[in-house]
Amino acid sequence: MSSVRLLWRLTAMNVMTTIEYRGAFLVYMLNNVLGPLISLLVWLTVSEQGVALPYTRSQFVTYYVLLSVAAMLTSTWIGAFLVEDIRLGNLTPWLLRPAPGILSYIGNNLGEKAVKLPLLLPLVAIVAVVFRHDLRPPTDLAAWGLFLLCLPAAAATAFFLDVTVALLAFWLDDVRGLLRLQVLVGAFLSGRFVPLELFPPELASFSLVQPFRYTLSFPLEVLTDALSQRELWLGLAAQLGYPALLYGLYRLLWSRGLRRYSATGA
């Protein structure tokens, strides 16, 4: 129970710090909107050529508008910070406290997102207004319910995936390159550029099972795609299974890694 209270305090603290830098975060949010917008415009060109596509014009618009919000809510940036904390010994203060060290990183993640959301929504609203004729937000309440269930699970998947890679810093000298590679490949395989459903058939079976699908794409698919019952249940199992698996992996790497951790004053 005290962990929950601590997490609440840490989140509130991060909200306050983030508000101080709201200008910088507004710039990040602008980026968050521009990226999907560029992908959307490219796909609209493809669909305007009269090419037969699995997605209609309004499906593309709906997908990318929802994506710009969902991508922020499931985003993670902690890896690079965690690596530096391990390398420079800044982990030490957290090891002395009677609470799991990961809480400060979770608090940072939640706190920043709480400030980013009100900055992001007006920008997404502008895009939505520009494309209002093609925007078809799903009206199925059950789909929205599933989406809201899957989104935190996707955020947890992304977060613990990031943490797991970063924890390799206990063993390796420089994992920053690995983290950047993960971001690069992850952006593609999570459907940020191209909806996974449009991947070529040779990649389809792979794209369905790999973890990055469950960091962003799957909640969107629940909302916008017509998934069959079978696909839905399998996907839901993976959506809940991946974060559980990655959490276990984090616990393992964390306890093993701490035995190797050495820092001044530790």
Partner: protein
């Protein structure tokens, strides 16, 4: 090459503003070229200390190329031609983009990401004290040389896709393409530099440089993939068209040199504007020590 006397700030101790160039234009160019080589030399020395970083940058460059190819594979699985571009022509553009990205990431981006920090931490004092143009110093002091591997990687893709597309570029076409890339780089630099110069006023916004990234990313697609306002934006305001689309079109023989007619004045105006804005901004700098 050496940093004899004239490079040290000591000669000008007491003067806060950079000294004006007393010597002729040619000598100034030689002096700045020598200085830049000096920056590169220190970077090479640093690089040898971080060999793993070099290896990961190579892997990253290859991965980025693969993902760009994959993006076009996905786009072109539904059609053989998009807005007048065939699959292989689009891959040529992806190669060109990678090369330009290599130059930008190696020589321009590390500086643009540093400027707001100089201002926030008061380090700009040291830049202004030195007896060279402060704009030159903050724009070119830093290099991230491993990123230059993107140039051969991109060239490889460009040559492969070009030969697969059966392109036989003329010497004139290649020269024109080179000129477009050069203009594109000057324009990209100017726009980006002007954006980060605003950090003098927006000290809290330490990431103005980041605003530029997604729009530069749009350069991986031909501008004809966009329509209306977005195409105009990418041609004139964030001029990635000059850096990627126009050069490839020139190599394909689909674009003559006539766009140079407005490209050269546009680039010159951008450079001049960036210089005027910088000089104006420096006057607003509240230094950390003076």
């Amino acid at each position: 090459m050496g940093c004899t006397g004239s490079c040290g700030a000591g000669d000008y101790a007491g003067t806060v503003r950079p000294a004006p160039e007393a010597d002729g234009g040619g000598a100034a160019v030689r002096r700045y070229a020598r200085l830049w080589l000096r920056f590169a030399a220190t970077e090479v020395a640093r690089l040898t200390e971080y060999r793993l970083n070099f290896a990961t940058t190579v892997v990253e460059g290859v991965a980025q190329t693969a993902l760009a190819v994959l993006t076009f594979v996905v786009l072109f699985q539904f059609t053989d031609e998009l807005a007048g571009w065939s699959r292989m022509e689009a891959l040529m553009l992806a190669g060109c983009y990678r090369m330009v990205d290599g130059v930008v990431a190696a020589a321009i981006a590390p500086n643009m990401y540093s400027i707001s920090g100089y201002i926030r931490r008061g380090e700009m004092d040291f830049m202004l004290l030195r007896p060279v143009s402060s704009q030159f110093l903050v724009s070119f002091r830093r290099l991230n040389l491993p990123e230059a591997v993107n140039i051969p990687i991109g060239l490889g893709l460009l040559l492969y896709a070009g030969s697969a597309a059966g392109v036989q570029p003329t010497v004139g076409g290649i020269l024109t393409a080179g000129l477009y890339v050069l203009l594109g780089l000057v324009m990209l630099y100017s726009v980006w530099f002007m954006t980060v110069t605003c950090s003098f006023w927006l000290v809290q916004v330490d990431n103005l440089d980041a605003l530029f990234a997604p729009l530069f990313d749009a350069g991986r697609y031909p501008v004809s993939f966009f329509s209306g306002w977005m195409r105009a934006l990418l041609t004139f305001v964030i001029p990635v068209a000059f850096a990627t689309t126009f050069p490839v079109e020139a190599m394909l023989g689909e674009r003559d040199a006539s766009a140079l007619l407005f490209g050269v004045p546009l680039a010159a105006a951008g450079l001049l504007l960036s210089h005027l804005l910088w000089n104006y901004a420096v006057r607003h700098y509240s230094s950390a020590s003076s």
